[in-house]
């Protein structure tokens, strides 16, 4: 076995040092009834690299890679071009094969990159403070909701009709067991501000999204003030981080907590994970924040260094009184985000965002010029919703059969009467003029 260094004679010498006759003697605490007499049945035995690679390659070939066809799927995960240096750097042994920086003197590489990550995320979202990342956008949203309940000591949560249905479900799962009452508004393409009417004296927070799941952009500035005047917090969610190269960031609109998905920057589609949740808030709430935080300090010589800090919020210290049970962040994905962001800089990010917006505008023009297709999103960044004359899921299947991945039918996210014909279409800097022409041609044929 190529991964196991011990030889049979090593094992014999070591057993002798331990003072037992056989390996079985080290497992005597296992109840006899549960001791297996040999390797578990129904599973294959060890294989060399070549055989394993063949097996995995065969499975890989059985899927259609996004990069091999005209591709327009979004709805929370976006295909962007990631510079080659990003994947090279995150595969450096010292980043890839290290642990959470519990011993900061031998983990300055990790802690400093987390500090830079927090600084970049705070700048991107225009917030006072960001944490060192969450599992993904949906779990960040869920944690934001329970944090708002802690801050306000209230128990009602209001979800907008434009919030990504998976985020709504993930947040509901966590919130309802924390004893929170959920008010989910009916799905709406362009009515984020409707949450205000649902706010009462017991409302901890409203959760709104920009760009929302239908692509619609909303200025929350007045809404935030109105919600805060009623003693509740405004949580702003997003699924496309590149948007804030071009779109007003949620912190500028006055959001109290911002939670969203950072996959778009530095990370591949990966069939849904691992991704990297971004989480930011105002300074005054920092001690109620979930997740890890890196902070600046000095060493015994007065030299600048970085450590994980404010860990008295966390489960390993606070146990049943922790702000969250979270133990890991999404370290390597956060590193990919931060390297890509460093390569882009403010200038590159704004340029990238503009390319995305232009690709989406051109795609929207091409698609909405097809008879029977209605553009539903009045404003959008790189994703928009259209209504087809028939079932959107069937249209997507038919397009896939012709080699075009033409978007995500809304019904894939949530089965809601009246939305069966809604198709979400995303375009990015990877979208070419030929891709757009293929989409328009194919869509015209299948509807």
């Amino acid at each position: 076995m190529r991964y196991l260094p011990l030889t049979p004679s090593d094992r014999e010498q070591m057993l002798a040092k331990v003072g037992v006759a056989s390996i079985e003697d080290l497992f005597l605490d296992v109840p006899e009834i549960a001791r297996l007499d040999g390797p578990i049945h129904d599973l294959p035995f060890a294989q060399g690299e070549l055989a394993v690679e063949r097996h995995m390659q065969r499975l890989s070939n059985a899927s259609v890679a996004a990069g091999s066809v005209p591709f327009f799927c979004g709805a929370g995960a976006y295909r962007h071009a990631v510079p080659a240096s990003v994947d090279h750097l995150i595969q450096r042994s010292e980043f890839l094969t290290t642990y959470t920086p519990y011993q900061p003197e031998m983990a300055q590489g990790t802690v400093q990159t987390l500090f830079e990550f927090q600084s970049q995320v705070a700048g991107l979202l225009a917030c006072d403070v960001a944490n060192a990342s969450m599992y993904d956008g949906s779990t960040a949203c869920a944690e934001a909701v329970v944090m708002a309940a802690r801050v306000t000591k209230r128990t009602k949560v209001v979800f907008s009709g434009g919030l990504h249905p998976h985020y709504r479900r993930a947040a509901r799962t966590l919130a309802k067991h924390s004893g929170l009452e959920i008010a989910g508004l009916p799905m709406a393409i362009n009515d984020e501000a409707a949450v205000l009417a649902a706010v009462d004296q017991n409302t901890a927070c409203v959760v709104v999204q920009c760009p929302n799941v239908f692509g619609t952009l909303t200025d929350f500035t007045e809404l935030a003030k109105a919600v805060q005047a009623k003693g509740a917090l405004l949580i702003a969610v997003f699924t496309e981080a590149v948007a804030f190269g071009l779109v007003t960031p949620p912190g500028e609109m006055g959001a109290d907590i911002v939670a969203g998905e950072g996959q778009s920057i530095g990370n591949s589609l990966n069939f849904g994970g691992p991704y990297v949740g971004l989480f930011a808030t105002k300074d005054k709430y920092v001690r109620q924040m979930p997740g890890r935080l890196a902070g600046e300090t000095v060493d015994a010589d007065g030299t600048r260094g970085f450590v994980l800090t404010l860990s008295t919020r966390e489960q390993h210290i606070r146990r049943d009184k922790a702000t969250s049970n979270i133990c890991t962040n999404s370290g390597l994905c956060a590193l990919a985000f931060t390297i890509h962001m460093t390569l882009l800089g403010d200038k590159g990010l704004k340029h990238l965002a503009q390319l995305n917006h232009e690709a989406a505008c051109e795609t929207a023009d091409a698609v909405s010029s097809i008879a029977g297709v209605d553009l539903l999103s009045e404003s959008f960044f790189n994703e928009f919703a259209v209504r087809l004359p028939g079932d959107a899921a069937k249209a997507v299947e038919a397009m896939a059969a012709q080699g075009v991945l033409g978007g995500v039918p809304y019904s894939r996210l949530r089965q809601e009467p009246g939305f069966e014909n809604v198709l979400l279409i995303a375009a990015t800097e990877t979208t070419t003029a030929e891709d757009i022409a293929s989409l328009a041609d194919t869509l015209k044929k299948v509807i």
Binding site: L59, Q112, V129, R172, H177, F271, N325, L332
Partner: protein
Amino acid sequence: MAMNTIGRPTAAVANDAAAPTTFSGARGLLQPTSLIFETGSIDRTGVDLPPVKGVKSRLGGVARTTSTGNPGLSEPEAVRHYVRLSQRNYAIDLGMFPLGSCTMKHNARLNEKMARLPGFADVHPLQPVSTVQGALSVMDQLSHWLITLTGMKAVALSPKAGAHGELCGMLAIRAALDAQGQAHRRRVLVPESAHGTNPATAVQCGFIVDEIKAAPDGRVDLSDLKTKLGDDVAGIMLTNPNTCGLFERDIREIADLIHAAGGYFYCDGANFNAIAGRVRPGDLGVDAMHINLHKTFSTPHGGGGPGSGPTVLSDALGPFAPVPYVVTRTDGTLDLVEHEVDSDGEPFGRMVAFHGQMGMYTRALTYMLSHGADGIKQASEDAVLNANYVQACLKEHMSPAFDGVCMHEALFDDSWLEGTGVTTLDFAKAMIDEGYHPMTMYFPLVVHGAMLIEPTESESKASLDAFVASMAGLAKAAKSGDTARFTGAPYHAPVKRLDETRAARKPVLKWSPPVEANKIAAE
């Protein structure tokens, strides 16, 4: 002096002078570092993009007018910045990383290569299922391995990490209790040696935590457990092997007791790597258990994630598994159940967007295929043997917390340091100078000044012997009064001991321009 024909000295010269401070701030190969905010600039970029076309904006008036404040670097600058930073990290690829409870085993590069195949890495989670059959096969095959290795009935793949898997298992238990009209069962028993995530998870699920004492042998105190059973008990959360590195030998009895009391048995599977391939938790009476793919199945820890925490479930809890999950259609193709209404069971909900950590599934499956049922068993045995070897070699220098053999990790207390003026923390920092990542310290809480050493199966005997020699040397130094070696450590790391108190008292959590930083400092 020995010189060659052009006058270049060719022999080393003895020199016992102290190392001078350098003008550059470098220390030879260790290059100085700065923050990107100090070296980058707002108008620089390391990505070349095609020109914009000037298409009319459809942002509806929500256009950003401010800077993100994030500087850019050219590619050579960025590469150098991150390579320099990487060199300030310790890693398994550099040396032994005996961090107990964290399972720092070798990360095979084949796993990395496979995870990057386009059929896995470049696939969107919401593509039509007809176009992702290969990706679904990975999930299906991984499920088969996990179910077979654990002897359980079902698995929920989507939890994003170990603690998230705990949440999954405990929510399934709560859903099952609610479905049986047992909603009054809200008390969860948790041993005092448990990982901090256990009590935190129970509370997040709306349970109340009741601690069970540890017996003098480091295992659950059965008599204390019995007094805490009652008709308001929802279940127990037990780690096995436990956090003291010991197998709970009464585990079947514990399972029977909790079941007889009407509760469920949650097993924290963080230490499954000690028994994988040798013992099936399903045979021990477990109802739910998360598996850390990043520990047992070697997906890289990446400096703190991403993890992956699939949760295996018993017959009783299977129907409550969250969406999504993979099913096989009658024609043999695979499908995804993504909506609770389409499900045969009563899912407690959805834990995440999409389908979980696909990138970790491919790596873990590659690990499993490489090891096979025989290799996984051997890996567990070698992990246990390595830990026992370290314990046997060090027991004459340090004080094992408990008598007898251990499982995959060896636990010591600090009684052997008494009177030396050296604490567990000091000892750990001296290990940094020795070129080792310290063991887990001050955990589990049931042992004073705990030092938890987990060598894993990836270490050779020679590597363990070198580690033991270094630890023995340190132990002798501590006992012989060489206190400064410890209290001033680390001496040889890129930075000296860092002030964690200062960081927490006045948190600086992001970079600020110097003017602003000075203003804050003056306040």
